[in-house]
């Protein structure tokens, strides 16, 4: 019987002509129809499918499960309300509405129906993925509904087993926007007397009312978009809308991805959900107030509080009410007082909800000047709030008002911008800011970059405690996962490391940096399973330090890995070659330093994109054999035999070894004729400490002339460790004369690092070099050239402290170890020595 009635109703409401088309072929025409027609089309279509094709899935879902069909049917009825109103007399319409509500109140699945009734705006313009793009042009309201429809459709089409619980939420979410539409489309009286009152009366008796209320109140338009791509549009919404968006998003995340964290927080922990819900409530109040007329708003509030008085969360209501009294104009306050008294009595022991209120609700908006006289209670409360913030005196109250503009705007930045700002702060500051407010806490929880370094925790936190903290950080994270993870710690147990990697590395991780310290007893074996799981297609940058890396062929292809760095990593040449040829097809940059197991480095030719190869400090390395066809930048150290697939490609070259000057002069021009940039470092051939060459200052004979060649492409020359050696001065003069396009000349009399402890002889030589530059070179530099001389620092290099030598040795080591490893390395090293 019920079924019949429903259909009857549907038909009554759905009294507009049938859809323009019924067959799939005619379907395309419907796209041109108004969205209203489209909705009906869907409805008709659903029925039609059942009737014409007897599609079992549809049929199953719609008919066997009775309430499902009911829903679909009622969905279609949404639109008809508007039509109905426009075509009936007002009185008739009232009757219809009343009957309608009376009818549905008795139904079991009424919520859904209601939802749909409310959700009476036009259905989405399109339903298929292809048509989806059209919806982007629709207003945000349409998009919301689209989502709603989509959700139902998903359930229906794919039988997604989202429990009804969840869907109800989704559904009620969708009804949010309709409130606004309803109000704008119905006459005021209709809206107030009939609709609102019926509505509240109805929902007061429902179980899931809270959620519904949330949604009802959250009447602002839904987020402009729901996909990440559309996400950016939402930034245009006001922050209130964004908050709504946040709420939407949270639910959506739960629904779409089944992320349990969210769910946990919102549903299982009940108090949490309450908070979220009330958060959503708060914003809507403001919107509601601004969008409704005063009378409407009064009715609304009355109903609202009447409702909440009966609910468990009375405190929510009472606090809200109190604060509302503060924020509303005096006349409002009058109307609310009776309500307040009733509600305040109810409870005092629940949530400290005042915290949840947005600032704007806590202060009288415009009536600030008028308020003090008429409602002393309000001023008292404001004052007490100020006292809480530590600015109780009358003068500081003035200050408070002055900074009002700033204060009010802070939360106005949208969620994702705050997230971005948060990610720009160092970890410690970000963590500190998370204690400020819920919004900040949220952006901390979804911070996309986690830099867990020793510096982030020391000196306050002992490293052992740090691991507890990191555990906490990772466990409490929410949102879309870490994009950039940097673990640079010492003294962490391997179990912890494994756990963290498992927790933090998600399919969104793009950069993974694990830099550990050489351990005394054992080495950490980097778990390659981390790479083989979800991040296989997301990871772009991988950097490992001080661990063992044992990749196997099963690892699979890391499609987007463009940069790989290994420092002090135990990896055999076979393992590396296997990894390179199997897993790193997109590799563009390879950086190996101090990987001592490698003797012959073979770069397979599958690395078509590899353009940059840096090999440093691999002391056993003897051969570099590269078949990568596009290698254009190469840097290596040590006495290594080079075998390149295509040496003509090489444009940048950097070499460090003892005979490099010789090699560069004798062989390089013929091997790599296309070189554009060359850096050579030689300890043996040129040295400041043991000057093998005669200083120009001691040799009075005139400078020799080198035969002239025009170097028309040379643009920049830099000499590090520049000395007063006569032939070096002669070379510099030659360059100045012959390099006609020279733009930049740098003569560094030190080791490339200023303020770096040096041996006495080096500093002395550096001073001599500076003198030589002033005497022989400075005058010859044309104005067009940017000329820089790095001189010894007057503070660091004047006096030689007793411990200079020791300090220097320590720092030498540090330099050798690279900048990424700080002083901790020395400690580990020295401990090692002691044990040995």
């Amino acid at each position: 019987m019920f079924r019949r009635v429903t259909l009857l109703w549907t038909n009554l409401l759905n009294r507009s002509p049938a859809p323009a088309s019924r067959s799939p072929m005619q379907h395309s025409n419907t796209c041109n129809c108004s969205s209203l027609q489209t909705t009906r089309f869907f409805f008709w279509n659903a029925l039609e499918m059942r009737d014409n094709f007897g599609i079992s899935i549809c049929f199953d879902k719609r008919c066997i499960v009775d309430w499902n069909r009911e829903e679909v049917i009622t969905l279609a009825s949404l639109n008809s309300l508007t039509i109905l109103q426009s075509s009936l007399f007002e009185a008739t319409f009232f009757t219809v509405l009343k009957c309608f509500f009376a009818f549905f109140t008795k139904r079991m699945r009424v919520t859904l129906l209601w939802t749909n009734l409310l959700n009476r705006s036009a259905a989405p313009a399109s339903r298929s993925l292809l048509q989806h793009s059209n919806t982007c042009n629709c207003s945000s309201l349409q998009i919301t509904e689209f989502f709603f429809w989509n959700a139902l459709e998903m359930r229906d089409n794919f039988g997604i087993a989202i429990c009804f619980d969840k869907r109800e939420v989704v559904i009620s979410l969708a009804s949010l926007s309709s409130f606004t539409i309803l109000h704008s489309s119905l006459s005021d009286t209709t809206f107030l007397t009939v609709f609102l009152e019926c509505f509240f009366a109805f929902f007061t008796s429902r179980m899931r009312v809270t959620l519904f209320w949330t949604n009802l109140l959250n009447t602002s338009p839904a987020p402009a978009s729901r996909s990440p791509m559309q996400h950016s549009n939402t930034c245009n919404c006001s922050s209130l809308q964004i908050t709504g968006f946040f709420f939407w998003n949270a639910l959506e995340m739960r629904d779409n991805f089944g992320i349990w964290i969210c769910f946990d927080k919102r549903c299982i922990v009940d108090s949490r959900r309450e908070v979220v819900i009330s958060l959503a409530l708060l914003n809507s109040f403001t919107i509601l107030q601004s969008s409704l007329s005063e009378a409407t708003f009064t009715v609304f509030l009355k109903c609202f509080f009447a409702f909440f008085t009966k609910r468990i969360y009375t405190r929510v209501g009472s606090k809200l009410l109190q604060n509302l009294c503060l924020s509303l104009s005096p006349s409002w306050t009058q109307t609310m007082k009776a309500q307040t008294r009733r509600v305040v009595l109810a409870s005092d022991s629940l949530l400290p909800l005042s915290r949840l209120l947005p600032r704007r609700l806590r202060r009288p908006p415009i009536s600030r000047a008028a308020a003090p006289a008429s409602s002393p209670q309000a001023v008292g409360s404001i004052a007490s709030m100020n006292t809480r913030k530590g600015s109780g005196s009358p003068s500081s109250q003035q200050d408070g008002d002055d900074s009002q503009a700033v204060k009010a705007t802070i939360p106005d930045l949208p969620e994702d911008i705050w997230c971005h700002v948060h990610s720009l702060m160092p970890l410690r500051d970000a963590a500190r800011a998370a204690c400020l407010s819920r919004a900040f806490l949220h952006s901390w929880r979804c911070r996309p970059n986690l830099t867990l370094t020793r510096e982030a925790f020391l000196p306050e936190v002992h490293i052992v405690n740090a691991s507890d903290i990191i555990d906490g950080i990772l466990r409490n994270r929410s949102g879309s996962g870490v994009k950039i993870l940097k673990l640079q710690l010492e003294g962490i147990s391997f179990l912890c490391l494994d756990r963290w990697l498992k927790l933090a590395v998600t399919p969104t991780t793009e950069e993974l940096i694990v830099m550990l310290c050489t351990s005394i007893t054992a080495e950490y074996n980097f778990p390659c399973s981390v790479l083989s799981s979800g991040i296989r297609s997301s990871i772009r940058y991988l950097k490992l330090g001080c661990c063992a890396f044992r990749p196997t062929a099963e690892l699979g292809t890391l499609r987007n890995l463009t940069s790989l760095s290994l420092h002090f990593v135990h990896v055999t040449e076979d393992e590396l070659e296997c990894f390179l040829s199997n897993s790193t097809i997109a590799l563009e940059q390879l950086n190996l330093s101090n990987c001592e197991e490698i003797i012959c480095l073979k770069i397979p030719c599958v690395l078509q994109k590899l353009s940059c190869l840096v090999v440093a400090g691999c002391c056993r390395l003897r051969v570099i054999e590269s078949n990568a066809p596009n290698l254009s930048s190469l840097s290596f150290s040590g006495n290594v035999k080079l075998s390149l697939g295509d040496p003509l490609q090489v444009k940048r070259l950097s070499m460090i070894h003892s005979k490099v000057v010789c090699y560069a002069r004798a062989e390089l021009p013929s091997v790599m004729p296309n070189l554009e940039r060359l850096a050579i470092y030689s300890n043996d051939e040129v040295s400041q400490e043991h000057m093998k060459h005669k200083s120009v200052l001691r040799d009075s004979s005139p400078l020799r002339q080198i035969p002239e060649h025009h170097h028309c492409y040379l643009k920049s020359v830099k000499m590090i460790g520049f000395s007063s050696a006569k032939n070096l001065i002669e070379l510099t003069c030659y360059i100045l004369k012959n390099a006609v396009s020279l733009e930049c000349l740098t003569l560094d009399t030190l080791y490339g690092v200023r303020c770096f402890p040096m041996g006495k002889s080096v500093v002395r030589e550096a001073h001599r070099a500076v003198r030589a530059v002033t005497t022989y070179i400075q005058d010859k530099v044309p104005d067009t050239i940017k000329f820089t001389v790095v001189e010894p620092c007057s503070r660091c290099h004047n006096t030689e402290a007793g411990g200079g030598r020791r300090r220097r040795r320590a720092l030498d080591k540090q330099l050798w170890l690279g900048n990424s490893l700080d002083g901790t390395q020395h400690r580990a090293q020295s401990i090692k020595h002691r044990w040995a």
Binding site: V275, L356, K407, V421, M425, S437
Partner: protein, 173 residues
């Protein structure tokens, strides 16, 4: 290669100048029209894509989410970065100095800074967005929670449970 790339760059410049000579009208939400060069407008990825899509260049672009004051300031940035070149060290330094002054001025008026941030985000002006968000981050950096709270008037709204969790993951505060 040096001359090759130089010539290519010059050609690209010439082309850019040509298209840059077109003028584009941007309209704020108050209906005020701002006429800017195309090069300037192209700083915004949002507008750029609209222009490239052959959108209504002549009719101009209404920006319903940006008010006149904000738009004027945003255009100031775009003009500087769009109409000037940044090839040499000096030019880059001049731009960097402009950025520094620009943000210093904005930093004095936080509310306005947020407006500009929102506009930069909406218009997808990457440089400006990076500049303003970094500025906000720097403001917060190094402050104690109490300092930040008093400076920005952020309401304490965390529940006891949140606090518990935070304690777990952070001891700096």
């Amino acid at each position: 290669m040096a001359t090759g790339s130089g010539a290519a760059a010059a050609a690209a410049d010439a082309e850019e100048k040509e298209s840059g000579s077109r003028m584009i009208t941007l309209t704020s939400n108050e209906g005020k029209a701002f006429v800017v060069t195309e090069a300037s407008a192209r700083q915004s990825a949002t507008i750029r894509s609209m222009v490239d899509d052959g959108g209504c260049v002549d009719k101009g672009f209404p920006l319903p989410n940006v008010d006149s004051k904000t738009l004027a300031r945003v255009i100031q940035y775009c003009d500087e970065h769009g109409n000037k070149e940044a090839h040499t060290v000096d030019e880059r330094a001049a731009l960097a100095k402009f950025d520094k002054d620009f943000i210093a001025e904005l930093d004095a008026d936080k509310a306005f800074l947020y407006d500009v941030t929102m506009a930069a985000n909406y218009l997808h002006i990457q440089g400006l967005f990076a500049l303003t968000t970094q500025c906000i981050a720097d403001t917060i950096k190094g402050k104690t929670p109490e300092e930040i709270r008093t400076a920005f008037g952020i309401e304490y709204d965390l529940t006891a449970q949140d606090e518990e969790e935070i304690k777990e993951e952070d001891t700096h505060a």
